[in-house]
Symmetry: C2
Subunit: 188 residues, 2 copies
Amino acid sequence: MPQVRKIGDDVLLEKLTQTFKDVGYEGASLAALSDATGLKKSSLYHRFPEGKAQMAQEVMAQTARVLDAEVFPQLAADASPASRIGAFVAVMDGFYAGGRQSCLLNMLLPPRGEATACGEAISTTFQRLLDALSQVARDAGADEAQARLRAEQVLVELQGALVVARGMGDAAVFGRALARIPAIILQG
Amino acid sequence: MPQVRKIGDDVLLEKLTQTFKDVGYEGASLAALSDATGLKKSSLYHRFPEGKAQMAQEVMAQTARVLDAEVFPQLAADASPASRIGAFVAVMDGFYAGGRQSCLLNMLLPPRGEATACGEAISTTFQRLLDALSQVARDAGADEAQARLRAEQVLVELQGALVVARGMGDAAVFGRALARIPAIILQG
DNA sequence: GTCTATAATATGATAGAC
DNA sequence: GTCTATCATATTATAGAC
């Protein structure tokens, strides 16, 4: 029976995620996605009948599930703000391989003017991170407005550090940004 | 004589720049570049014999010239660090239209693993900005190591704010990042 | 469920008329 | 210098065998 699954959904989505992170949505041709997964293009269509757009959506959904499992619980843990943000930093460091990986949220962002399903999911994910980081800042003594500003700055530092690290070919930029994050949230 | 130039080099590069900034390198098809400039594909090849790669390179070179004219002189001006960084922030605000424009340096970044001529130019541009911002921090009293860290954080904030602004559809994120920049450089 | 084969379209690029 | 026409290839997508 050679018609068995060559690759499970989890590993399949992992390979697709890696390709989208490396080359972006436009750069990820079906040929590239086929090479990365070991499945022929027609097999990819069997698993994702709506093609590349669906692959990107499911990759985003899987990433959201990973955040639900590994990030949000840490931020909402029953612990001090310092230890929660410390755990967050550690998870981010692993998530982006110390700055050697790009952010899916950046690489999947739709062109200006276009509104895609992925764009919606990305916006929602940013918002959820903002809310969760905000709560840590509030628990550290910030008022609502301060907390939102600090949380936003953390997202900005993360995204910016990944862009600059890639642009300059220096992953260490990311580590230095991570080091600033606790002070930003716990400020004062 | 209908064989005259329909569009000057400056405007042509401007239109190409806008397209690359909006949709990125992969997303900028010759059809899109043709639409944006009003020149047919074959005319674009007449102006840029090496095709899209050359267009991207010349767009990068033009952007470097704009920085030479409008940004680096401000940072190196014979004025206080505070007024120099204030001028920088004002120019950046205009340059990115208050957060409604993406950064060319991010949108033209080559896929991971590939080394393009554009990638080299981008890395160099980041480095030059880093050096110029660093000098402002030094003049504000920072030692060499501190100054490089502060300059790097400014680049990170700029790039990150543009990504988050686009991702969340909220240009105001960029304005709030700009507001943080003077304190980062002048710190203490 | 995966594959080979194929189709329709888009893309990067060139030739030659004006 | 710009255009129409064309080409080779890449890309997205489908049909049908196993």
